[in-house]
């Protein structure tokens, strides 16, 4: 069917779109499975896997041809030939063939998306690749590996939107859950009706407050159940995101002349879809970093007494109301001497400063820090771990690193289960209200009289321990004068504890988080907003960035700090407003 898409059967507009959407989903799933199978095959050839691969290809061919996608069907057929030849042992399972087939998977992805968008035809690169597939499939014996080389991935003349929309903003949902939501909604509306009636008759029947509260509680519990179900809809397993990287790791390692295998664990751990989306880039960055800086070349690994093939392990576990995602490698570990050297060059630490190992490790999260000697395709462009940290902290997560020289590095990301709701602690300054996640709050205390100033920061003693604190009124430039009694909210922080001096405490409650939108995405010290009980908007504080800013400001003032570090001296020459120093 040259040049033609297969149009919708007459009179089937909307239905045809639905059929296409189902095909698109199915094709995407099948191709991902094929990719996984191929990578597994490469690690350990096994007939069962080959058969699975054949079945996957065959299913794809079937559904493609049932919709009349001739070009796609022909192409899958070519791939099937090769798989058949591998099954018949006419070809030996190994790198050249898996690479060729992985290339076909890429092409098939393009082709299926194109077909859905109405363009069912092969481009020159597809045809060339198909020819090689056919040649391979026709081989009688184990011979002629396909010429190595990078496969040109060709973009069909597609409407741009279809590619962008490939990572759709749709979600699959359990029908049982939907039913439960419908039931709860119905119950809630009945309860609401009763409440209305109760209120209307309240005066005449001289009902008591207790009765009113009972009515309200009934609605409340229904509402919470409904909220719980709705929130659950947003939870998706991490597996698909993790599995995408099987291929990434293989291909990136190969590009660098290294060998590496990614192992996955905890694929069924679920996360809010927004968290998962926000995890995508940082995770890719960490993987690239591990391959670039961690995993050594095969010779180096053998010399160190390790297997030639490096191992990366990506693991997710639930832990106390959050999800921990851990990436460990068995590479060379962090080279602390080089990190220290680089930190001195950048003026992040003074030459005389003695650092503990953990402190050295944390330096990699400083802005602009990179020890890569050369800029590679993978990483080392100077934008690195600081971006990862910023992204993770932006969703109220934390990053930690653990490393053993020669043995490998483990990056631990701790993420909130959801971005949509937090248990928040509210505090007021002037007429503004700020909220922090309750799990960060350790305790609250009244600010001693001796500390009544309008300084930006100060320090007080908490049971003999130093407690540095920040005065939000001054930091946020709210003006006005503090009331007679100020309070300090003591927050846990990765590096210890930190206090926030505020006017009054408002206590905790469940807060639905509202994004602040594009305009405020760089607002320093603020991570989001929430609608307060009185209808106003409260801001959710980003404590790590507040603390970082305070540290930077302190460093600018202190004497020993060499002014060479670009970001420090730069900030110091400009007006020391909040905005400037943060950026």
């Amino acid at each position: 069917m040259s040049g033609g898409g297969s149009g919708p059967p007459p009179g089937l507009g909307a239905e045809w779109q639905q059929v296409l959407a189902i095909f698109a989903d199915e094709a995407e799933d099948l191709l991902s499975s094929m990719e996984e199978t191929l990578i597994a095959l490469e690690a350990r050839p096994d007939e069962e896997r080959l058969r699975a691969l054949f079945r996957q290809a065959h299913t794809l061919k079937g559904s493609g041809s049932s919709l009349g996608f001739q070009a796609l069907t022909d192409y899958v057929h070519g791939a099937e030939d090769v798989i058949q030849a591998l099954l018949d042992q006419r070809l030996a399972v190994g790198e050249p063939w898996t690479s060729l087939l992985l290339g076909s998977v890429d092409h098939l992805r393009e082709l299926s998306r194109a077909a859905v968008a109405g363009v069912d035809q092969l481009g020159p690169a597809h045809q060339a690749h198909l020819a090689r597939l056919r040649e391979g499939g026709a081989t009688g014996g184990p011979s002629t590996p396909p010429p190595p080389g990078v496969l040109p991935v060709e973009d069909l003349p597609l409407p741009v939107e279809t590619r962008a929309a490939a990572r759709g903003r749709s979600l699959r949902m359990d029908v049982e859950r939907l039913d439960r939501i419908v039931t709860l909604t119905a119950e809630l509306s009945i309860a609401r009706g009763r409440m209305t009636q109760f209120l209307m008759e309240a005066e005449a029947s001289s009902a008591s407050w207790d009765e009113a509260l009972t009515q309200q509680r009934e609605m409340d519990s229904l509402f919470h159940a409904l909220q719980e179900e709705v929130m659950q809809v947003r939870m998706v397993p991490v597996g698909p995101l993790f599995r995408q990287h099987l291929r990434t790791v293989r291909d990136l390692a190969r590009d660098q002349g290294k060998q590496a295998l990614l192992e996955l664990a905890g694929e069924d751990v679920t996360l809010d879809t927004a968290v998962l989306e926000a995890l995508r880039d940082p995770l890719l960055h960490l993987l690239r970093n591990a391959l670039d800086h961690g995993i050594e070349a095969p010779e180096e690994r053998r010399a160190a007494g390790k297997e030639a093939c490096g191992r990366l392990r990506l693991r997710a576990v639930h832990d106390a109301g959050s999800v921990v995602v851990e990436l460990s490698d068995d590479g060379r570990g962090m080279q602390r001497e080089r990190i220290k050297e680089r930190a001195r060059e950048l003026g992040l630490v003074s030459p005389s400063e003695r650092l503990r190992d953990e402190e050295v490790d944390r330096l990699i999260f400083e802005p602009g820090f990179s020890t890569a000697r050369t800029v590679t395709e993978l990483s080392g462009r100077g934008v690195g771990m600081d971006v990862v940290r910023r992204d993770i902290e932006a969703m109220r997560g934390t990053v930690a690193v653990r490393s053993q020289e020669g043995r490998g590095t483990t990056m631990t990301l701790r993420l909130p289960l959801t971005l949509a709701v937090i248990q928040g602690f509210a505090m007021g300054v002037s007429d503004q209200v700020y909220v922090v996640p309750i799990e960060l709050v350790q305790e609250c205390l009244e600010l001693p009289v001796s500390q009544r100033t309008s300084e930006e920061a100060g320090m007080l003693s908490l049971r003999g321990q130093p407690l540095p604190y920040l005065r939000l009124r001054t930091i946020f430039g709210l003006g006005g004068t503090a009331p007679a009694r100020e309070n300090v909210v003591v927050l846990r922080h990765p590096d210890g504890i930190v206090g926030l001096a505020v006017d009054h405490l408002q206590g905790d409650g469940q807060r639905v988080i509202r994004p602040l939108g594009r305009l405020f995405q760089d607002a320093p010290g603020i991570s989001g907003s929430t609608i307060l009980g009185d209808g106003r908007v409260g801001l959710i504080l980003d404590t790590p960035s507040l603390v970082r800013r305070a540290i930077r400001r302190a460093a600018e003032r202190s004497d020993y700090q060499p002014g060479e570090a670009a970001h420090l001296s730069d900030a110091a020459t400009r007006a020391p407003t909040f905005r400037d120093t943060e950026q």
Binding site: L478, G517, G535, R536, L539
Partner: protein
């Protein structure tokens, strides 16, 4: 001249007062007008971006255009209100509240009622203007919301910035400018005024 053709080219504008001057925006861009309510200040923002308000559960940024045009903030009165407009911020339809001293009226203007603004003398930078609407022997500044309310423009102004030296000294310079013209070129010389 046929009446129907006349009608077809006429457009409705909502006009409002800002620091004593009348401005207009295309009515199709206006989503609603709401009375003043407490603003939550977002730290680190330029003075013109006053903060956010709650509009039925959505968090909507509010902007004081007068501050953006370099005028001092004015007291809140019982006529102060927010005109909620729709703009495209980096490809996303976003509601933004414009703080106005009072809303005046809806005007219907034909193309011959709209003058090209002069090269200088307006309080608003020329590229923020669609034109000047003539109405009852006065001019209403018709604002180009897409230019005025882009992310760059909203974030660009800083409080108490010195007059922007990067702005090339252009036409108005040699003319002995009357009071209003002093604001002409650097529209972003904003802040405390």
């Amino acid at each position: 001249m046929s009446d129907s053709i006349e009608k077809a080219t006429r457009t409705n504008y909502l006009s409002f007062m800002l620091a004593g001057e009348e401005y207009g925006v295309g009515i199709l861009r206006v989503r609603e007008i709401i009375e003043h309510r407490p603003i939550t200040r977002v730290p680190g923002m330029p003075a013109a971006v006053q903060g956010v308000i709650n509009l039925r559960g959505s968090v909507v940024p509010v902007v004081d255009l007068a501050v953006k045009f370099g005028l001092p903030p004015r007291p809140i009165t019982r006529w102060t209100c927010f005109v909620i407009v729709e703009v495209n911020l980096d490809g996303k339809q976003t509601a933004i509240g414009l703080l106005t001293d009072s809303v005046s009226e809806v005007l219907e203007l034909g193309s011959d009622d709209i003058e090209t603004p002069p090269a200088f003398g307006t309080r608003v930078r020329l590229d923020f203007l669609l034109g000047m609407g003539r109405h009852d022997s006065k001019f209403i500044m018709l604002l180009d919301l897409d230019r005025l309310l882009s992310v760059e423009e909203l974030l660009s102004l800083t409080t108490a910035a010195p007059p922007d030296v990067s702005e090339p000294t252009s036409a108005p310079e040699p003319v002995p400018a009357p009071a209003a013209a002093s604001e002409a070129t650097p529209g972003e010389a904003s802040g405390n005024g």
